[in-house]
């Protein structure tokens, strides 16, 4: 095709962001299940030697202990594996850009749109999550701040306990319908 190169021009208006299940919420006695607003997220992988530099750049300490998380200034770092953290930023800052400044060995990959976050809050929150999650979610075994990748029914989730009676459930975008529906159905039974 002997055409001249097509000229590029600056796009003027940005298009609408349409988060999966945006704004959906279900209330049942003792528990509310709700889609949380979009957040910035990265999957961070790094050897031990890089942890200090990355923690400094991110402004939050990357936890070294399994099943824990650290939070500071709207940013939460969840231990997912011995060299893996999920960093969630709810303050509209860019953790990917912060990591880009770090020369120490690491891999930071943007996954803000990969995950959908669902809040499960209320006295029956623990029971609601336990309808599909086989882990012991008592405060002794899964205290506030505990974080873990695990299973909810037939989907994989990342579970974070943000308060005594509040969980943040993260799942992949296309599983959000399933996860939200399961949590909603479980919620209706949880207070019984």
């Amino acid at each position: 095709m002997a055409k001249a190169a097509v000229k590029t021009k600056a796009a003027e208006a940005s298009v609408e962001r349409r988060p999966a299940l945006g704004g959906r919420a279900v209330s049942a006695p003792g528990v509310k299940v709700e889609i949380l607003p979009p957040a910035e997220r990265i999957s961070l992988r790094a050897p031990e030697a890089s942890v200090a530099a990355l923690s400094k750049a991110l402004g939050v300490t990357l936890p070294a202990k399994p099943k824990t998380s650290e939070a500071k200034g709207g940013r939460t770092a969840l231990w997912l594996g011995p060299d893996e953290w999920l960093v969630i930023d709810e303050a509209s800052n860019d953790p990917l850009a912060d990591c880009a400044k770090v020369s120490a060995l690491h891999s930071a990959v943007g996954i803000s749109h990969r995950n959908v976050a669902i809040s499960v809050a209320g006295l029956a929150a623990e029971v609601t999550v336990n309808s599909g999650c086989p882990q012991d979610l008592s405060l002794e075994a899964f205290p506030v701040g505990a974080a873990s990748r695990t299973i909810l029914g037939k989907a994989e989730i990342v579970l974070l306990r943000t308060a005594k009676d509040t969980f943040r459930v993260e799942c992949w975008r296309s599983f959000s319908d399933y996860v939200f529906t399961l949590l909603s159905e479980a919620a209706s039974d949880a207070a019984n």
Binding site: P66, G81, P82, E84, P134, S148, R149, I151, E156
Partner: protein, 98 residues
């Protein structure tokens, strides 16, 4: 549903989070392209499949996502112990009677 101790998560977690990944301690030859037919057969096809203690690989796929090794009794289906990938076969098993 079994509970399996993940050596990376340092606790027992429900079996649903795990996936079996076959026999452990089978080393991929460094010069695999130069392996004889017999050696490749041993490496790739031949497995012990014992009645009793087996060394196998598991992955905490829906947890920390790490592969690790486990010693399991195929008769009782009980896990004897688990240890990290890359660690040598344990010389002595806890509570081993034989």
């Amino acid at each position: 549903m079994l509970l399996i101790r993940c050596p990376y998560c340092e606790e027992e977690r429900p079996e649903l989070e795990f996936r079996n990944a076959g026999e452990a301690h089978i080393v991929r030859p460094t010069n695999i392209a130069g392996e004889s037919d017999d050696d490749f057969e041993k490496f790739f096809f031949i497995r012990a499949n014992p009645k009793g203690v087996i060394y196998e690989r598991w992955r905490h796929i829906h947890g920390c996502a790490r592969f690790f090794n486990a010693v399991r009794d195929t008769v009782t289906d009980k896990f004897v112990m688990t240890y990290k990938a890359g660690e040598p076969k344990p010389a002595k098993l806890p509570g081993a009677s034989k």
